[in-house]
């Protein structure tokens, strides 16, 4: 296992430039592109002292009122980030951006996990069914994958809202939990917190609220998982060791398990790559269901032109995505002993 450790260290080191590139990209997108953010925030007719104050807040000017050159702004930003300082919001009490992000992050994690679970169940079931059965089943599963992949999340979400919340009235139309039922914060995930504290009324309410968003997100992501699982299972099924195992009289259900284990490596890699899709999907799902997560937060702050928060949130997304990709890679190495060498 020593080589697994070496692999992890190498991967962690490789993570640093990736994150740095994304931070840099976001920084320059927000600064260099045409349009003056300061004017955009305060408007053309704002008094000059307000403009200067804002420029200081944004790190565009030093305390003496002299403009700071862009490279220095960049380095200042990096050094602040390295200390975990994402800056302060430009609106409403100017709270630290990171604090605000952390308030919204658990909601996104909860939704992403729930959606991920739904999509994995759908994807693995349908995908292995298609791969294992082949023929017409495989084609049907393929079509399912192609259609669900191309669904527009808000539309599917709205149709589900229309059907289950408006017409049938059996599930809430939006939100994360009924007001007043929020469980005490431990992990920030309502479902888990309410189980830990034994608040079953909270649990039921949270579960009812998350059902439609998780279904929407899960359905759309399942398209990719179905496709990956199907092709991967089909590929493994063609390998000689399947025939060899059959030739030893191994029963089909055991072979299926081995096939799935072998298919799992590419599936896992692809799942890691789909994290971007999951995040994208979560942002769209959140805004459709007024889910108080990072996506809703980001878009709300865009409306208010709260640039430090927008920038901080996007950088935060970048860090999270890179970290999860790292974890996926390590799992990959752990499952498949070959890639450690």
């Amino acid at each position: 296992m020593a080589s697994l450790k070496a692999f992890i260290i190498a991967r962690v080191l490789a993570l640093i430039p990736t994150v740095l590139i994304l931070i840099t990209l976001v920084f320059f997108v927000m600064r260099v592109l045409p349009g003056d953010p300061v004017i955009a925030i305060v408007g053309m007719k704002a008094p000059p002292e307000r403009v200067i104050e804002l420029k200081k807040e944004l790190g565009l000017m030093d305390e003496a009122g002299n403009p700071i050159p862009l490279p220095i702004q960049y380095l200042n930003y990096l050094s602040k980030l390295a200390r975990g300082d994402f800056g302060r919001s430009l609106i409403w009490g100017k709270r630290p951006v990171l604090v605000e992000i952390m308030e919204h992050f658990p909601a996104t994690v909860e939704l992403a996990i729930a959606g991920f679970i739904v999509s994995i169940i759908l994807g693995l079931l349908l995908g292995s069914l298609g791969g294992w059965m082949g023929g017409k089943t495989s084609s049907a599963v393929k079509t399912y994958g192609a259609i669900t992949y191309a669904l527009f999340i808000p539309w599917i979400g709205m149709l589900l809202q229309l059907f289950f919340a408006v017409w049938l009235g059996i599930l809430p139309v939006a939100g994360r939990i009924d007001t007043g039922l929020e469980p005490p914060t431990i992990t920030g995930l309502y479902l888990i917190d309410s189980v830990i504290t034994g608040r079953w009324d909270s649990f039921i309410s949270a579960l009812r609220h998350i059902t439609l968003p998780a279904l929407t997100l899960g359905l759309v992501i399942s398209g990719v998982f179905t496709r990956v699982t199907r092709t991967s299972v089909e590929e493994v099924m063609r390998q000689d060791f399947v025939v060899a195992a059959r030739a030893r009289g191994i029963p089909e259900h055991k072979i299926l398990l081995h096939v799935l284990k072998n298919s799992f490596v590419p599936i896992l890699t692809m799942m890691g790559l789909q994290l971007a899709l999951l995040m994208t999907g979560a942002v769209l799902t959140e805004t459709t269901f007024s889910w108080p997560g990072m996506g809703t937060f980001l878009l709300e702050r865009i409306q208010y032109r709260d640039y430090t928060t927008v920038q901080g949130t996007v950088v935060f997304f970048a860090i999270i995505v890179s970290l999860v990709n790292l974890i996926v890679d390590i799992c990959y190495a752990y499952i498949d002993p070959r890639i450690r060498y």
Partner: protein
Amino acid sequence: MADPLLNIKNLKTYYFTESGIVKAVDDVTLGIRRGELLGLVGESGSGKSTLGLSIIRLIPPPGKIIDGSVLLDNIDLMSISEKELRRIRGRRIGMIFQDPLTCLDPLRRIEDQMVETVMVHMDVERDEAREMAAKALERVGISGDRLKDYPHQLSGGMRQRAMIAMATMLHPELLIADEPTTALDVIVQSRIMDLLEDLKESMKMSILLITHDLALVIERADRVAVMYAGELCEVGTSEQISQDPLHPYTKLLLESIPDVEAPKTKLKSIPGNPPDMRNPPSGCRFWPRCPYAKDICKQTPPKFAELNGRIVRCHLYGGGKS
């Protein structure tokens, strides 16, 4: 036939591809005797591997066994249930393949794959199964502690040994070896063949050796069956085939073996190409490449003829009459 173990009768296996039906095995009748090493020789695409897989009904789609029977001690493997057949695969009939690396599950230790096989067939505890696996490995010349290895940690020759250990662990009566040495270098190749012969003797097992290498078969096998375009051409002992080949195809195959004693002689190759199996020639399938082809060969498929205890399928030997 003297003490037959397995009788293949009129076996037909076709592949139903989009571009037509491929008659990969077409009406093959062949017996395998107890304790013999029977070599099955043919070019690639002759259907020899399909024949091997057909015996234990492992033909992948779009292939299908159309007709015929395969009797193992009067049990017809073609008509018993999948469940009954599974008890025979690995237990009474073992099989090894060309590329041992792809035939081993890359993600599981050798041990797990062997123990699983034992426990599927026998009602034993895990420890006992592990012991059997270790013994089987030692029998093929691999130290028992390599059980913990993953397939990629073994060398090519060792992998094939491990495959053989896995296939012979439960003392099968028949081992089907499909090009077992093709992927290996010459020295390893001959050691693997030695091992197979040793196992054959010590376990009193029959081996069906499927290969394109006629020289190997003549050197190692007791009897030889030659296959061309889905059909058997000729069956005989190794001596008969090497000293006195009857079928023109066998003759040509023999001439194309490089002679180590006389390296200067010109190496002959068989003219022409194997036929398009979706649309094989009428009559005898070999006639377009046969130097002795007559008019009858182009029209009527020959039948098997017995000749001094040997069988051959060719019009030159009265194949048309029977």
